[in-house]
């Protein structure tokens, strides 16, 4: 064997490998459309002349252009006056990681958030597929852990609190060590991405409901601001006033003492009765509160994919002879395969772990019970709106909170080794 030729060949091949692995400039970051919703709302109508793919692509291009007009790009955000967003904060959070002229760090979202939450806030960043639970998709404007009515938006301090504490039990870390100015900038950017996502959904709904196949989306100020944007902004600005009322704590409840302390015994007993009663808590959380009552429900973000996926596969069978419908459903199937995370069921919380995603303070547990958890199957036991009536009196909710807080420690010393996993063993 001619060794010098062999060496040359090996080196040449290695050089080809290195060259093939990565060349070219990185394009600037750009937002992505919500392709699942874009295809879902783009059903072809009978009598369409253009092929469906061309028509849908044009319509989506219009939506992308309008969104860029109203919200800018990931490097250069735009905040219309009507949104009430603080452009200075958005600029701190947006763009590539760099220092600005006074030495402040910019590009915070890209540094801390984008790899899970995605450049458009779609919860589908590069890391997202490996996480359980998936990162939050901001685009529908639904948030789980907040102190406002179920369907209301979170107040700024709810978002700040999530950034500060993280979400224990998930991959969302705590950003307690970031300076408050940076946390504020990130909160503002999340609200911006959420408003952008909701605007996009509103445009798709309008196009589906109001436009004929040959119409284009209007781009006048009256339409975009008054009709599309204003209802979205009103919900966000009304969040501060949509806080649920917190009832005062009954006198037989003392959260500074453990559940088996005499000060709390009566309250914990009442909470146990309410939890195990015919309300139905145990149907999902299980009679042992280990979260083993049911395992086949989805949260709203996954449910959209599951139900749409069922419709698409059902429709594909019967759409063989209709070219437009067939193209539409095949495109929808491709989007579900390549542009959405694989749906995961949401198991009910194991209450014996002492691990609460939304926070472990009594007021956090009260909020989860009062309104339920928006976006999750967890229902509320308080009223559904101001002036309503819940299935449990507001003050009684504190007894359920007391019972839940005692659950991880309930069998300490009683059953010995033969007991459910308690908080002291697992954190």
């Amino acid at each position: 064997m001619n060794t010098s030729f062999a060496t040359l060949r090996s080196t040449l091949l290695l050089a080809v490998v290195v060259a093939a692995v990565g060349c070219g400039k990185t394009p600037p970051a750009s937002f992505r459309l919500n392709m699942v919703q874009a295809t879902k709302t783009a059903a072809p109508e009978s009598g369409m002349e253009k092929p469906w793919a061309a028509w849908a692509s044009e319509r989506q291009g219009q939506v992308a252009t309008i969104l860029e007009a109203m919200y800018g790009t990931p490097d250069e955000p735009v905040a219309l006056a009507e949104t009430g967003l603080d452009l200075a904060k958005l600029q701190l959070a947006a763009g590539p990681v760099r220092s600005d002229i006074v030495g402040r760090k910019n590009g915070l979202y890209r540094e801390h958030c984008v790899h899970c939450h995605g450049i458009s806030g779609d919860g589908m960043g590069p890391t997202a597929a490996f996480l359980n639970p998936y990162p939050r998709d901001y685009r529908p404007g639904k948030y789980k852990f907040k102190g406002t009515w179920r369907d209301a938006r979170p107040a700024r301090e709810d978002l700040t609190r999530v950034l500060h504490e993280g979400v224990p039990g998930s991959s969302m870390p705590s950003f307690a060590l970031l300076p408050p100015a940076q946390v504020d900038a990130l909160v503002e950017y999340v609200r911006y991405l959420s408003m952008r996502g909701e605007t996009e959904l509103a445009l798709y709904t309008y196009a589906e409901q109001e436009l004929g196949v040959d119409d284009t989306l209007p781009t006048t100020k009256e339409f975009l601001v008054d009709e599309i944007l204003t209802p979205i902004v009103e919900k966000w600005q009304g969040a501060e006033d949509a806080r649920i009322p917190i009832a005062s704590v009954p006198t037989n409840v003392d959260f500074t003492k453990p559940g088996d302390d005499p000060a709390n015994r009566e309250s914990v007993a009442r909470g146990r009765v309410l939890f195990h009663g015919d309300g139905g808590c145990v149907k999902c959380h299980g009679v042992t509160a280990l979260g083993d009552g049911q395992a086949n429900d989805y949260d709203d973000w996954n449910k959209v994919i599951v139900e749409w996926s069922k419709e698409v596969s059902g429709g594909l069978g019967s759409a063989q002879d209709d070219a437009g419908r067939s193209a539409w459903l095949h495109a929808a199937a491709d989007v579900i395969e390549g542009d959405a995370l694989r749906p995961r069921t949401i198991p009910p919380r194991n209450l014996r772990l002492g691990l609460y995603r939304g926070g472990r303070r009594p007021v956090d547990l009260y909020r989860r019970l009062y309104t339920g958890i928006n976006g999750a199957p967890m229902p509320g036991v308080g009223p559904s709106g101001p002036g309503g009536k819940g299935s449990v009196a507001d003050a009684e909710i504190w007894h359920i909170v007391n019972y839940i807080r005692s659950l991880p420690y309930e069998f300490d010393g009683e059953l010995g080794a033969d007991r459910p996993m308690v908080a002291k063993d697992r954190f």
Binding site: T7, R9, S10, L13, L14, V16, V17, A20, L33, A38, T41, A43, S46, G47, Q60, G61, A64, T65, I66, L67, E68, A69, M70, V78, W149, R150, A152, T205, Q209, T219, T220, K221, E222, L224, G277, D278, G279, G280, C281, K283, C284, Q294, D297, G315, S318, D334, V335, G338, G372, P377, P379, G380, V381, P383, S384, G385, G388, K389, G390, S391
Partner: protein, 294 residues
């Protein structure tokens, strides 16, 4: 490295490096037109007084009329599928087996039930919002009304007549409440819906119904024989009606029919102007098999 294959390693590296970039690719999404976007943005930023769009002045008439019709299904509905009941089996499905109620066709008359007909925009309303609560109940682990309508501001008494707890979850609203056995709670919708939304129970996932809240209350749901009536409609103005069914294949759930006299549009809508005191009968509205999907 054996003398047999000196280039094995680099070759393998090349293959690996090429494959490493593969995987389900994200669908290519359309991009924005930056120039057009800046033009739109300038338009949005301008504080110039917007010229009142010359469009037709809203036509307002006087008097009231009513509309009725009957939906029939031209296709074969097949047998209703039984539902998978796997929770609280001592109660659920005990008094009667539970079937999928999404397509109810009357055997003798071929009438199509649960078709929702509602007005998309009206200028005036005859009757004020009633104070008396409407009842929305569930028994035997199914919702008693497959399609339920209410006016915005009208209280709804959401009841649970079962011996087990249910949670009633109205999609798109603030209402997802745990309702213990035998109890009820009141809900007052505060905004209207563009199309019916689902009502489900998270404890018993097979339970499903539809609900629509409208401000003007001009909604009707076809009965078991397919007939519907909407009384007290404003006369003298063009009214656009939306016809919806849970399994319709039209865009947004609209029911597509062949009724060129009504200019039935592919979104399941038609426009009609009624005369004062007219009781318009649309006759038999035949829904073709292709308009109802799986």
């Amino acid at each position: 490295m054996t003398s047999f294959c000196h280039s094995c390693v680099p070759l393998a590296c090349l293959v690996v490096a090429t494959i490493a970039g593969c995987g389900p690719q994200r669908v290519s999404a359309p991009v924005a037109d930056a120039a057009a976007a800046s033009a739109i943005r300038e338009g949005l930023a301008s504080t110039a007084a917007v010229a009142a769009t010359g469009g037709e002045a809203a036509v307002v008439g006087t008097g009231w009329a009513s509309l009725k019709g009957r939906f029939v299904f031209a296709g074969d509905p097949g047998q209703p599928k039984p539902l998978a009941v796997d929770k609280d089996t001592e109660v659920c499905g005990k008094s009667a087996k539970l079937f999928d109620q999404s397509l109810r066709v009357d055997g003798s008359t071929k009438g199509l039930a649960d078709v929702v007909v509602f007005v998309r925009k009206s200028s005036r309303v005859k009757n004020p919002v009633p104070d008396a609560p409407q009842v929305f109940d569930q028994k035997n682990c199914e919702f008693l009304a497959p399609v339920f309508t209410a006016r915005v501001g009208q209280p709804i008494d959401v009841r649970n007549s079962d011996p087990v707890g249910h949670n009633t979850n109205i999609d798109g609203t603030s209402f997802n409440q745990l309702i213990p056995a035998g109890q009820g709670t009141t809900y007052k919708p505060d905004s209207e819906m563009g199309a019916p939304k689902t009502v489900t129970c998270n404890i018993h996932p097979w339970m499903k119904a539809y609900v629509i809240f409208r401000k003007d209350g001009y909604v009707a749901v076809s009965a078991a024989d397919g007939s519907f009536t909407i009384p007290d409609l404003p006369a003298g103005e063009p009214l656009e009606f939306q016809v919806w069914h849970a399994r319709a294949t039209g865009s947004g759930g609209g029911v597509v029919l062949a009724r060129p006299d009504l200019k039935w549009n592919p979104k399941g809508r038609f426009v009609i102007t009624l005369q004062a005191d007219e009781a318009k009968d649309l006759g038999t509205l035949e829904v073709p098999a292709g308009s109802i999907g799986t």
